[in-house]
Point group: D2
C-alpha cells in the first residue's frame, strides 16, 4: 500500500536492511553434524556475497534490456544504460578480486568440512546461469560436462525462468535489433560498404608491399607476416559478403546479424561524431562486461585447480579443465572482437558526405 | 543432532546457503510507499554485503583473540592467527574497493529514495562497532558527534555485547599481554635497553654531525633537519624512561605497556632471528589491518562528501568532516608507528650474545 | 625528417622503447658509497615508475586543456576528453595501489640506505607539482611546511614552467570558462534560477515539517536534523545570491564563478537530457580524478607514518601530519561537492519548457 | 670508490633517480616519421613501466635463489625470502591491473601509429623471458609459434644470459633441492609414506561407500562421482610409486623429484607444526607467483584479442590463441597443484610420534 500523504515515512536501519534475517542465514554444517570447522563460515559467506551481487547484476541487466522495449526511448536512455553497465563491470571486478579471499582458505582447510557438503558439487548458482542467459549465451552453445547439461540440476520452475528470458529477448538480441536500426549506412547517396571496401583494399595492398620490400625480414617471416595481414579474401570476406556471414551465423560462429555487424563497424570507425559517442561507449561497455565475466570464470577455474587439483575420473576432463574452457567459450559478444580485425586507420577512412556529418552532429554551446 | 555413523551427510546447495532467505531480504522502501527507485536496490545490497563481510571479520578476530586465552598454545597457533589476520586484511581491501561501487550511484539518484529512509541516518552498523571494540578502540577515545555518543543508538542488549568484549579482552589487550611475556629482554647478562640506548646515542650524534657539517643546507634547513632527527630528549624519551611512558599512557597517548613496547621494539630490531619471524609477521598484520580500517573510514568519508556535500547545521561540523576525523583518530595500534621512529640501522644494532642467539634459533634441515 | 613515401618504417622493440637507457638508470647509492642494500632498488624503481606515469598524466591533462583553446571544437571533442580523463583516473588508481608495494619495504630495511640519500627528503617530484598546477591548485592555497614554500626547492627554470601553466590556463580555468558558455540558463522565457528557487523552498519546507512531526525523534534530534536540512539561508544562500558567492570566491572558499556554478547545477539536474549526458560525464570525471589524487596523498601520508613514524622537531608538525592535511586541502574541484548539497529530487524538478527540451535533444534512430 | 669517512653523502633527488634520462626516453615514432599520434605515448610508457617492474622482479628472484646457494643459511633466510616473493606477487598483481590501462587505448587509436612500429611484433621483452627462466620454465617445454622458437629473436649475448640462468640453477631447481633435504620423512621408526598410504586407503573407501549408498544420486552420477574420488590406482599412484613418478618426470609431466614431492606433501599435511610454518608459507608464495604470472599472460591474451581481433594467416593460430595457450602451459610449479589432490583431512592424518613432534616444535615464550 502506497502512503497517501507524502513520502516521509519512518524506518529503522537494522529492520530496513533485514540485518537479523541476513546474519542468521549462516548455518555451519560442520557444527550441526560433526566437528565445527572454522573455515566453513568463509565458504558460506563468500557464496552468499556472490549471490547478493548476482542479484544486483540481474537488476541492472534486466533494466537495460527493458530500455530497448520501447524503441523511441532508447537513445535518451543510453547514458543511463551506460552507467548501469559500468556499474555491472565494477561489480564483476570486485567478484574477481573476491576469489583471492576464497583462496586464503587452503586445500587442507577445505577438507575439514568438504565431506559435510556432499553431494553438492561446487558452484551451482542459478543466478549466475540467469546472468549468462540475460547476456545472451545460446543454450546449445554451452559446454557439457561428462555429457550432461549443466541445466539438469535446476527444477522445472527455474528452467521456465530461463526459457522466459530467451523468449523475451536477451541483451544480445536487443543490441542486435538496436544496431540494425542504425540509419546511417546508406544515406544521401553514400554507400558505406562500398567506400569501406575501397579503403580497405588500398590499405591491404600497402601493408603487404611494405612487408615484401622490408630488408629486415627473412623470406619465411615475410610469408608469415603477409599471411597475418590477410587479403580481402580471408577474414574480411564475411563483412564484405552477406552470404558468407549468414553461413557463419548458421554454424554458430557469428551472433550479430550482417546488418548489425555493419552498423557496429560504422560506429567504431566514426565514433568521434557526436551522435555516435554514446553508442560507441555502449558497445565498449558490452565488451568490458564480457571480458570481466571471462576473467571471473578463468580465475574461478584457477581457484578450483588450487583447491582440489586435477581430480578427475578416467572418463573425462577435470573440473578445472572444464571451467577453464568455459571461460573463453562462454563469451557472448565475441563478434565485437571480430570488428577489431576490420578497422582501418583514421587516415584511410572514407570521408563522410557533409549531409551525413550534419545529421551526426549536435551543438552544446550555441 | 550430530550424525552418528560418519560425516557424509546430504545437503543441497540452495538450501545450505539459504539462498531463498537471502534473496528475499531486499525490500525496496520506494516500491512499498512511493515510486520505485531503481538505485535503492544497490543501496540495500551494498549495505548487506558489508554486514556479511563484517560477520566474517568478527569471526576471524574472535578466533584470534581466543588463541591467546591459553598461553601455552599461542606460539603454535601463531601461523594460523597470521593467516586469519591476512584474510581479514584482504576482506578490508575489498570493502575499500566496494565504496567505488556505491559511488556509481550519483547524488541525484540517491535523492530518488533518500526521503523514504528517514530518519535512518547513514551508516549505523552495530557489527562495525563490534569490530572496533574487538580491535581495542577504548570507549572514551571515540569522537562524539554533536555532543552525542554514537553508542546511544544501540539497544541495551547490544550495549551489553560491547561491554562483554571489553571485559573478556580485546585484541589490543591480548597482544599487549603476549608481548609482555617475551622472555628475551634481559637474559644471560644481556640488558637490551642499556645496549639499545648506547647504540642510539651513537647514531644520533653521527646524524646530527652530518647535518651540521653539510655544505648543501642552509642554516634554517640544518636547524629543521636536526630537530627532526631528534635527541634522546624527544620522542626517544618514552622508550628510555618508563615513567614518561606511563604518564603518556595515563593521558591516552600510548596504549601498549612499557614492557610490551620494549618487546615490540626488540622483535622489530631482531626479527630476522628464526624464532622472531612469526611474531614480526603478526605485528605487521596488526598494522596492516589498522591501516586498512583507516583507509575504509577515509574513503567512506569521501563518499559521503560526494553524495551529500557539506550539508550541516549551524551547530557543528558536517558528516563528512566528522567521518574524516575518525579515520585517523580511531586507529588502534598507533604505538607500532611510534616504534618506526625508534629503529636504528642493522649496522648499528647491538650484537646479541651467543647464548641468546642460540635460543632464538632453530634448524629445519639437520 | 619525415618519411616521404609512406608510413612503413622499420624499428626494433628494444631500441624503440630505449630499454637499455631505461635499465641503466638504477644506480644504487648504497653500492657506490657503502654496503649494498637490497631494498634500495625498490626505492628507486617505485619512484621512477611514478615519474613515468606522471609524464603520462601530464600528457593527458595538457591535451584535454588544449581542446578548450578552440571553443568551437570542444563539444565534438568531449568524448575524447572523457576517455583521456578516465584513463588518468585509472592510472591514479594504479598509483594508489603501488603504495602497497612500497610498504613491502619495512622501516628497518629503509634504514639500511636512508643515510646515503641525505639530504634528499622524501618525495620532491617536480612532475607531481606540474600535475597539481595543471589541475588548477592556486599557488597561494598551498599548505606551507615549516613556514617554507614547497616550491623553494625548484630551480628558476622549473618555476617558470609552473608560471606558464597558470598563464596559459589550468583545467579549472578552462572548465570554468566552458561552463560559463552553457546557453540554457535563461532561454525562451525560462528562468532556471527562479524556478529552482521555488522548487527548493517547497522541498525544504516539506522536509522540515516531516522532521518536526516525527514521533520517533527526540527534540534534540529534531533540532539537529532540521539544522542539517538547512534553509535557504544556509549553504543554499550562495547559489541563490550572486553577491554571497562572489564574497566566498574572494575568500578562496569557492573557485568556480557564479555563472559556472549555476551551469554545473543545471547539468547535474537535467543530465539525462541527451545533449547534457557527455557534459555530465565530463564533470564526473573531474570529481573522480580529484578524489583519486586525494586518495593517493592520503595513502602516501599513511606510508610515511608507517615508515618513519611521527618523527618531528619541536617546531612543527610531523611529515605525516603535513601530508595528511594536504590530502584534503589540496583538492581542486571542491565546488562540485558543494553542488551535491544543492540537488533536489527529480520528482521536485521544475519541468523544462518544450522549446528548451527540443534543443537538448537529438535522435540516433530516425 | 667507497666513502671512507662514513655513510653520510650528499645526493639530489632528481639526479639520484636519473629523472632527466628517464623522461627523455619517450620518443614518439609517429612524431618522427609521420603524424603525431597522441596514444603512442601510452604505448611507450606502459611498456617501459613493465620493463622497470620486470627488473625489480628479477632483482628479487635472483636474491631468493642466491639464498639457497649456502645450504646452512637458508632456514634463517626463509622469512626474508617469503617477504621478497610476497612483494613479487604484489608487483605482478599491479602488472595485471596495468593491462586495464593499456585497454583504455582503443583498437582504432592503436591503428594511428601501429604501422610506424613495423616490424616489431607486439611484446618481445627479454626481461620477461629472463623471469620465466629464473622461475624454471624448461626451454623445451615452451610453446612454439609458427614453428619458430620465440628465442630466435634474441641476440647471442642474450641467449647466453638465459643459458647461464639454467646452468646456475633456477628457482625450481633450488626449491627441489631444498625440499629433498627435508629430514622428517623417515625418522625414529616413523615411515611417512607407509602411514599416509594406510590413511589414504581408509579415506577413499569411506568416500566411495558414501557415494554408492547415497539415495540422492542417480546411478550415472554415482559412477561419475566415484571416478572423481579416484582410487589408489589413479592420480594417487605417482605418490605411492616412485617408478610411476619417474616415468611422468621423463615425459615432462612432473617437475619435482619423487623425494621432493613427498616432502612437499609432508609440509602441506603437517604445516601447523611450528618448524613447518615458514616452509609452508614459502611453498604458498611459489604457487601465488605462478598463478599471478598465469593471470598476467591470460589478461594479456585478452587484451591482444580486443586490440587486433583474431588476425591470423592461413598457416596457424592467431596471436591471441597462442598467448592464451601459453597462459596455462607455461606455468611452472604445477606439481604443487597435484599435491592438493593428495591431501587427506586433518582428522584422518597419521599422528606423528612424539620424538618427531618435539623436533618440529620450538617455543617463543618459555
Amino acid at each position: 500500500m502506497k502512503s497517501q500523504e507524502g513520502k516521509y515515512t519512518t524506518i529503522h536501519y537494522q529492520k530496513y536492511l533485514k540485518i537479523e534475517e541476513l546474519l542468521s542465514a549462516q548455518v555451519l554444517r560442520s557444527e550441526q553434524v560433526g566437528d565445527p570447522a572454522h573455515e566453513e563460515m568463509l565458504f558460506i559467506i563468500v557464496h552468499q556475497v556472490y549471490e547478493l551481487w548476482f542479484k544486483q547484476i540481474i537488476h541492472e541487466l534486466e533494466s537495460v534490456i527493458r530500455f530497448f522495449d520501447d524503441n523511441e526511448v532508447v537513445e535518451t536512455s543510453l547514458s543511463v544504460a551506460i552507467g548501469r553497465l559500468n556499474r555491472t563491470e565494477e561489480i564483476l571486478q570486485l567478484l574477481v578480486k573476491q576469489i583471492g579471499i576464497m583462496e586464503t582458505m587452503t586445500p587442507l582447510d577445505f577438507l575439514d568440512f568438504r565431506n559435510y557438503l556432499f553431494p553438492a558439487s561446487g558452484f551451482q548458482s542459478f543466478q549466475f546461469r540467469v546472468i549468462e542467459c540475460l547476456l545472451g549465451l545460446p543454450e546449445d552453445q554451452r559446454l557439457t560436462y561428462y555429457g550432461q547439461k549443466y541445466s539438469s540440476v535446476f527444477t522445472e520452475d527455474k528452467q521456465k525462468t530461463l526459457d522466459d528470458i530467451y523468449a523475451k529477448g536477451t541483451l544480445l538480441d536487443t543490441v542486435n535489433a538496436w544496431l540494425e536500426r542504425t540509419p546511417f549506412l546508406e544515406l544521401d547517396g553514400f554507400n558505406f560498404l562500398g567506400e569501406y571496401k575501397k579503403a580497405l583494399t588500398k590499405m591491404l595492398e600497402k601493408e603487404t608491399k611494405a612487408i615484401m620490400e622490408s630488408e629486415y625480414l627473412t623470406d619465411k617471416e615475410k610469408k608469415m607476416r603477409s599471411e597475418m595481414v590477410g587479403g580481402t579474401d580471408t577474414y574480411f570476406r564475411s563483412i564484405l559478403d552477406e552470404e558468407t556471414h549468414n553461413k557463419l551465423m548458421a554454424e554458430g560462429k557469428k551472433r550479430l546479424s550482417y546488418k548489425a555487424t555493419l552498423a557496429a563497424l560504422f560506429i567504431n570507425l566514426y565514433r568521434e561524431e557526436p551522435i555516435l559517442q554514446l553508442p560507441f561507449q555502449f558497445i565498449t561497455c558490452l565488451i568490458d562486461i564480457d571480458n570481466e565475466v571471462t576473467n571471473w570464470r578463468y580465475r574461478h577455474a584457477q581457484m578450483v585447480l588450487r583447491m582440489i587439483g586435477h581430480k578427475t575420473g578416467t572418463g573425462g576432463s577435470s573440473g578445472h579443465e572444464y571451467l577453464a574452457k568455459t571461460a573463453m567459450m562462454h563469451q557472448i559478444f565475441t563478434d565485437f572482437h571480430g570488428i577489431s580485425s576490420l578497422l582501418i586507420p583514421r587516415s584511410e577512412l572514407p570521408i563522410l558526405p557533409e549531409g551525413i556529418r550534419a545529421q551526426l552532429n549536435f551543438k552544446f554551446n550555441a
